[in-house]
């Protein structure tokens, strides 16, 4: 507990800077993402990792050079299952382009800003990178290092952003507000007015998670859903189950559970089972354990996603840039589909590990499913 607390405090202090620089409750961005959600994505059908929503493409002819290429990648880390799935998917994407990629040079920053900064510096000084892909660990801390890198090679960032527009493009699903809108809208539509919802959050201060929550809160207030409380679970299953059990003990019946991330959603559901209560209306994410529970218990549920296929997109974008082909930018908004009852069966696969993220776009890649831990 104490160790964990120290880690969270450290993470918070790191996250504090971007928290000042950007608002987590920005009505303009909320409205913008709501618009994007309604737009049809452009790009090849059936390949959402190559599609983009809204925005425009940018000319990259000045980066054109002959292949094969040396692609450098500075990874924030593989410290959680989402990143593990994404990283596996990215490696599989590299394998698909053997003739174009001479070398794929990777540094794992192990979730440390200082390590990632020195990783980037040493890659640029010693490795002759043709292009640098960065998945930044934290927003503010990595900004100067990326600004420096931009002066030497084309840079592509994905997932968490940085406070500079110097990268050729920044790849990211529509965003946190969209997640909050999808999930809260679904819950509000499936409970009666005045229904009671508990919000479960991982931890405060992370931009993606904060925006998910602020959007959901707006929707709940708009629709008259009563928020009993918002609790931080640290992403810990035992803690999640205990918190939900406490709420059930205190309020009797809870009508819905909203989650800012799905990794502990099955623990929340089990609290209802163990208390002998009716299942709540709930949102999870595309984790297999949640999808399977959804199917077997016939839940009223939705799974907005933060697709791991963006790790594929980073490699695809890098190759486009080096070949001088236009890419969506300066922000490449990927579609972030929500899994609904209608397409649940398409994503459920009991042969995959519990925290495999189904929206990986990896089903037809070489080595699936073993490479992702499946059978």
């Amino acid at each position: 507990m104490l160790v964990r607390t120290a880690v969270i405090v450290a993470a918070l202090s790191l996250a504090a800077a971007p928290a000042i620089a950007q608002s987590f409750d920005d009505p303009k961005e909320f409205a913008h993402q709501r618009e994007l959600m309604k737009m049809p994505p452009q790009g090849p059908a059936g390949k959402p990792w190559e599609q983009y929503v809204g925005g425009q493409t940018i000319d990259t002819s000045k980066y054109k050079k002959p292949g094969p290429y040396r692609i450098c990648f500075s990874n924030a880390g593989v410290g959680n299952p989402w990143r593990v799935v994404g990283w596996t998917t990215m490696q599989a994407e590299v394998d698909l382009h053997k003739q174009d990629i001479a070398q794929f040079i990777v540094a794992d920053a192990e979730s440390k800003d200082d390590k990632q900064i020195s990783d980037i510096n040493s890659m640029l000084s010693g490795q002759r990178c043709d292009i640098l892909i960065v998945s930044p660990n934290t927003t503010a801390a990595l900004t100067p290092a990326i600004e420096q890198a931009c002066q030497k090679v084309p840079v592509i960032t994905f997932d968490r952003g940085v406070l500079t527009s110097c990268p050729v493009t920044h790849i990211v699903p529509i965003g946190g507000y969209a997640f909050g809108i999808y999930s809260a809208q679904f819950i509000a539509d499936h409970v009666s007015p005045g229904a009671k919802v508990v919000a479960l959050r991982i931890l405060p201060g992370v931009d993606v998670l904060e925006t998910r929550w602020s959007a959901a809160k707006h929707i709940f207030e708009e629709k008259g859903v009563k928020i009993l409380g918002a609790e931080f679970t640290d992403g810990d299953r035992a803690k999640t189950k205990s918190i939900v059990s406490d709420y059930i003990a205190r309020y009797g019946q809870i009508d819905a559970v909203w989650m800012d991330a799905g990794a502990t959603s099955t623990a929340a559901i089990e609290a209802f089972e163990d208390a002998g209560k009716k299942y709540p209306v709930i949102n999870g994410e595309d984790q297999q354990d949640f999808l399977q529970k959804w199917k077997s218990a016939n839940l009223t549920a939705i799974a907005p996603t933060y697709p791991t296929y963006q790790w594929r997109t980073a490699i695809i974008a890098a190759l486009h840039v080096l070949k001088g082909e236009a890419v969506p930018g300066p922000i490449w908004d990927l579609p972030d589909p929500a899994i609904t009852q209608a397409d649940l069966d398409k994503y459920v696969n009991p042969k995959m590990p519990p925290l495999h993220y189904a929206m990986c776009g990896c089903e037809s890649m070489p080595g699936y499913p073993q490479r992702w831990g499946g059978k």
Partner: protein
Amino acid sequence: MTVATKQTKTLSARGIAVIGRLNASYLAFLALLIVIACITPSILEPAGFMNFLRRGAPLAVVASGQLFVIVVGGFDLSVGSLITLTVMGSALLINNDPSKTWWVIATMYGIGLLAGLINGLVVTYLKVPSIIATLGALLSIKGVALAWSGGSPQGYLPDNFRQFGRLTLHDIPLLGVLPLAVVVLVVVVTVFAWLLHRTNFGRLALVVGDNAAAAALAGVPVRQIRILAFVLSAFSAVTAGILLGGFSGVSTDAGDGFELQSIAAAVLGGAQLLGGRGSVPGVVSGAMSLTALFTLLNLLGLPKPLRDAVQGLILIAAAAYSVRRQEWAG
């Protein structure tokens, strides 16, 4: 005359010592229960109280194992990662095949006993201070668990594994409901209490913790006693891993923080750091007080950073209080 006075004094001092040792955690537990009951009266109903005990069971089990190491004058920081390894490893090995549950549980105890044995050997023969030895074990065991699973949970735990932490028996006379985890808790605690308070091993462990040099001169097999303490602690960690995996399922976080929580529970329960004193019932009550504290902070709905701060302060205050009581009691 003088002899008689001295004896009465020792007796009454002992009486105070017993009260002193018991009071801190028992009173804390009672007080916390009353406050929780003001918010949710259901905790005082049999079903509510049993659920509470179930939630506290993993910590109580680890803390009473940890107590043996503390009593002989050490710390076991590896229990948390051993819990993680138990949960992750069981899921990997069982792979959702209920017929494998029993041999996997046996394997996990084997791994746990081996880890405890290594901890004990490193501390006694290589003479590495236990705080360093088990900190090393913490890192390597966690590393093994994450490397083995590739950093994210693999496989599922079938129902016959999860029942230890999840199943609740209904229609039990007097109690109404009885979670299986509480049965496991009672069995483990009874065995541990018997070991510490009723056997030669337990008495010798207290002697070793009080003064190892004197114990060695008196012919006590100090090394064996210490090694056995680490083995018992590892055994309790594997048991807690099975309970915790059963309660909440597979995750890489299972067991995080248990090393410090179990030491805190032991101190709350009147165990003396650096050895020589401690009681199993006291430590169980210490663990339940901590669980009650976590529950209460949840119920109060304080913002997380404030909750952590309050929790830290209460822990320090409680530990200081119980140390003081021991000093007053002499």
